[in-house]
């Protein structure tokens, strides 16, 4: 059974003819590719789908962007000739003859496209970012150039945008109480680096706990997830090394890879054959031009970034390693963040003791950056203990299960309605394709009118015609909330004509969640 490559987004599926949707299905134990581990391969079906963009939609999207660009030029022209008032900030008079700080084109997109739908982002909230959130109302009288706050607060918006997978963003409860106690004892800041005077006993406790949770020998925690990647990859690899990086890796990984000075080669997203081919070439031919063998190849030393998956995937919430039933000792460097599933802030790296000792000595963060704030550390400690079940309750386990249930339900219902949804069936991040630029803004606004907060993303975070709405499910969402949300999404989908999918799923009977089976059959 072949692993289907992701279809091209331009809608031209000529050669492949009738096979448009990349569904991958296989009975358990299917020999899909060459990763040999634990005697088997994937122990469970790997259901990922990336439905192709319908041709008409792609064409219309390009037309839409074309029209916007034309209008953009027109408006710029009018602004230059002072027919229209120029609203954005300008350089100081004294410095007008300095080399300009920004290139004009960088700002073209910003001025003419982003500005029109700017109100979909940076929405200020004023309550805990749980399943329901309160938002400050803001209006703009000059088409989003400036905002004013009316002072009213929109209450109880269903929050489908915050990364709150296990529902630990709470203002009451065991975690918050523990954090409050630590805050009154230790204060909010630390004022020193780890290597100097900033290594508190709380940090040591946290690191031991994280190592136990992940099943690795040792771990080290940092104050910011982004910085964990961008500062530690340069410590591990340097010139003369090779990094094989997935096409769609996060900005922090890309930055870390660039800063390290190693050679970077990119393989297609999730495509194992592309990766293997690159590996073979690299080993056989060595470094370009000099043909010397590579010192280290950073994917053979597997660096796994679990920023979103830790806590959210796997039967006991231990991330993607747990989800596939693999051994954490096989991953050389396990990285993750505490921001998403644990309701705190910061990142960690786990691995063998030599690795962590090396990082303690040579990492930028350890030497130059202030250590984590104590109440934040306490929040992580309490939430990890809760997930592991060590606090004496089953709340953690219940939440992990609730999240998996919510994910399956939500995805299935959306597919039934006819939307194009990307991604794996078990992933709590649900992208719903919008494609056209005007629909990005419209979707965000219409959902807010109906009291649901969603996240929409467009270019440059996604390819230009693949703009989407992204729902982040949480264990704190109850079934009622999901149903309300689904109803509203259905309405808006009809209003904006978002139901692009050509392939309708036969609706299944609602089955109660059964822990032991992870496959769903489709007839």
């Amino acid at each position: 059974m072949e692993l289907h490559e992701r279809p091209r987004a331009n809608g031209c599926g000529g050669a492949r003819g009738a096979l448009r949707n990349g569904f991958v299905r296989g009975p358990p134990g299917t020999q899909i590719n060459h990763i040999v581990h634990n005697g088997g391969l994937y122990k469970r079906p790997f259901n990922e789908a990336f439905e192709e963009t319908p041709m008409l939609v792609a064409v219309l999207t390009y037309v839409g962007y074309g029209v916007l660009t034309l209008f953009g030029y027109l408006r710029d022209f009018m602004r230059q000739w002072k027919i229209e008032k120029c609203q954005n900030a300008t350089e100081r008079e004294e410095q007008k003859d300095f080399v300009p700080l920004y290139q004009d084109f960088e700002n073209f997109y910003n001025r003419n496209l982003y500005m029109r739908i700017r109100d979909s982002w940076n929405r200020p909230i004023c309550s805990v970012p749980g399943a329901k959130v309160d938002m400050m109302e803001r209006v703009s009288h000059d088409y989003n150039w400036t905002f004013t706050y009316t002072g009213r607060v929109i209450k109880d918006i269903i929050n489908m945008g915050s990364y709150n997978y296990l529902g630990f963003a709470q203002k009451t409860g065991a975690c918050q109480e523990a954090a409050a106690k630590v805050l009154s004892q230790y204060g909010a800041g630390v004022c020193s680096t780890r290597q100097e005077m900033g290594n508190l006993d709380k940090h040591e406790e946290l690191e031991k706990l994280v190592a136990r949770f992940l099943g690795v020998e040792s771990a080290m925690a940092y104050g910011m997830g982004f910085a964990t990647n961008s500062m530690n990859i340069p410590a591990l690899v340097g010139k003369g090394c090779l990094i094989l990086s997935d096409e769609l890796n996060h900005a922090s990984l890309v930055l870390g890879a660039r800063l390290s000075g190693a050679t970077i080669r990119i393989f297609k997203h999730n495509n194992m054959q592309s990766l293997e081919k690159l590996l073979k070439d690299a080993i056989v031919h060595g470094q370009p031009r000099t043909r010397r063998p590579w010192k280290k190849i950073l994917i053979l030393y597997l660096y796994l970034d679990e920023a979103h998956s830790i806590g959210a995937l796997g039967p006991s919430g231990r991330g993607v390693v747990d989800y596939f039933g693999l051994d954490p000792e096989d991953v050389d460097v396990m990285m993750g963040t505490f921001t998403k599933s644990f309701g705190a802030a910061g990142g960690y790296i786990g691995g063998k003791k030599e690795l962590i000792d090396y990082l303690r000595t040579y990492s930028h963060s350890a030497a130059y950056a202030t250590s984590m704030s104590p109440p934040v550390v306490e929040q992580i400690i309490t939430s990890v203990k809760c997930i592991m079940g060590e606090d004496g309750t089953t709340i953690g386990r219940a939440r992990v299960q609730q999240l998996a249930e919510n994910t399956r339900y939500f995805r299935r219902r959306l597919k039934e309605m006819g939307f194009i949804i990307y991604g794996n069936e078990d992933s709590p991040v649900v992208p719903l394709m919008l494609y056209m630029p005007a629909k990005i803004g419209a979707f965000g606004r219409e959902m807010l009118k109906r009291n649901i907060g969603v996240v929409v993303v467009g270019f440059p975070a996604t390819p230009i015609i693949e703009s989407r709405a992204r729902f982040c499910l949480s264990a704190a969402h109850t079934k009622e909330m999901l149903d309300t949300a689904l109803k509203e999404i259905n309405e808006v989908g009809d209003l904006l004509q978002l139901k692009y999918s050509r392939r309708r799923l036969v609706p299944l009977l609602d089955r109660p969640f059964d822990e032991t089976t992870y496959e769903e059959t489709e007839d």
């Binding site: 918050q176 909010a188 005077m197």
Partner: protein, 430 residues
């Protein structure tokens, strides 16, 4: 049909032969040479192809088997000074418990003593009760809280600039700010006319404790048309009459500086950093500052703590004067210790004590200084050596002991520290 084709072919052949006989001699020779050349090229090409793919499949497999990567990390010797951290039990405030021993804290950058301040803590507590701990998202996606907006406004007002932007990690502040304005091509001499030029300076240098000559830099700026980025992590909340930093200290118009960046982890006793300046410059970072767009926002309790700290700074402008007086006092008291020299300005709250004469290697210097530090710690003064990543620094400063002055230290404690350091230097270095 086939017969017709056959006849047709034959006819073409006859034509060809006829043309052959009728062509002039030079034409034939030229053609002949060309044909020979083509044949030669064909053969030599296959020869080259053979060279490139000279590794058979089996050989490739062997190479793959044999290839051994370097170990992921080289082993670190067990007694490396940076490996064994001091463990602090309890809060790192004025009286600190290090490795089980209670000491007076001369090592944390808690300049204004706000780490243990009750008002700051209670502001953080009420924020914790309202918002929980984390923000669960970046600024663009429901991670913007009203406390963030308030903090940005307050910082901009305090520094008297148009706008401010906050980051959730002090280190990331300047690390995201600079790349947002310069690209890789900016060092290219061919494009010298369109490269943007920047001077990046620190207000108070952490590694040397001295101050940057800002008025001269401003003159240079207008002469050579460069922009100035000022990093004020140590000088924010320390220099200047109201704590506004080095611009207030020198009395310079703040609009002359293009960007001021500082972290809130020293004077404000919180976590995170901020940049402030004109809207023209700061707004750009909201879309292209990597540490801002792609990272979760600052936990609200830390933002609330910073706001409260700012309130205290604004309400008590005389603490800056007090701090400066203490710095002067200890600076004077530490002069004349045999074996150690003081590096840093007299009003800088972070001084360095370096060895007057090095023993030859950096490692031995570090060991010697460690003995001084240990002596002091055993007698109740907590100090630390300044830590660097030796491979990464361009001009690595010599090893030194860092002495930090805070407003909470009393005069007796300052005197005690000075005399203890004298004693330690005597016993260890002589």
């Amino acid at each position: 049909m086939a017969a017709m084709a056959g006849v047709g072919q034959q006819w073409v052949l006859v034509e060809m032969v006829q043309a052959f006989y009728e062509a002039p001699a030079y034409h034939l020779i030229l053609e002949g040479i060309l044909i020979l050349w083509i044949i030669r090229l064909l053969f030599s090409k296959t020869y080259k192809l053979q060279e490139r793919s000279d590794l058979t499949l089996k050989e490739k497999e062997e190479l793959i088997e044999e290839w051994q990567p370097e170990p992921l990390v080289p082993p670190v010797p067990k007694d490396h000074p940076a490996l064994n951290y001091n463990i602090v039990s309890g809060p790192p405030t004025h009286i600190i418990t290090v490795n089980g021993k209670e000491c007076i804290n001369f090592a944390s950058f808690n300049f204004l003593g706000l780490l243990n301040n009750e008002k700051v803590k209670s502001a953080a507590q009420s924020s914790l009760k309202k918002y929980g701990v984390g923000t669960c998202g970046p600024r663009g996606f429901y991670g913007t809280f009203d406390v963030h907006l308030e903090l940005e406004e307050r910082l901009a007002k305090f520094m008297r600039t148009e706008e401010a932007i906050i980051y959730s990690y002090g280190f990331a502040t300047i690390a995201s700010a600079i790349p947002a304005y310069s690209k890789r091509g900016d060092i290219n001499p061919r494009k010298a006319r369109v490269t943007r030029r920047f001077i990046v300076v620190e207000g108070l240098y952490m590694n040397r404790g001295d101050i940057c000559p800002l008025p001269e830099l401003i003159k240079l700026k207008y002469k050579y048309k460069v922009r100035i980025f000022l990093e004020e992590s140590l000088s924010f909340g320390v220099l200047g009459q109201h704590g506004r930093g080095i611009t207030e200290h020198f009395g310079i118009n703040i609009d002359d500086i293009d960007l001021i960046s500082a972290n809130m982890e020293n004077s404000l006793a919180s976590i995170g950093g901020f940049c402030c300046g004109r809207s023209f410059i700061i707004d750009h970072q909201r879309l292209s500052g990597q540490g801002y767009c792609f990272s979760a926002s600052l936990p609200p309790l830390l933002a609330a703590a910073a706001i409260e700290a700012l309130n205290i700074m604004e309400d008590n402008p005389d603490i800056f004067q007090t701090l400066r007086a203490k710095c002067e006092r200890i600076h004077k008291a530490l002069q004349g210790i045999s074996g150690l020299k003081v590096v840093g300005e007299s009003f800088s709250p972070a001084l360095h004590l370096q060895l007057e004469e090095s023993c030859g290697s950096r490692e031995n210097d570090v060991k010697l200084l460690k003995r001084v530090v240990d002596y002091c710690m055993n007698s109740g003064i907590a100090l630390t050596q300044a830590r660097y990543l030796e491979k990464e620094e361009k001009c690595l400063p010599p090893p030194s002991i860092r002495v930090v002055i805070t407003v909470e230290q009393t005069e007796q404690e300052l005197d005690k520290a000075a005399s203890l350091l004298k004693e330690a230097a005597q016993s260890v270095l002589n």
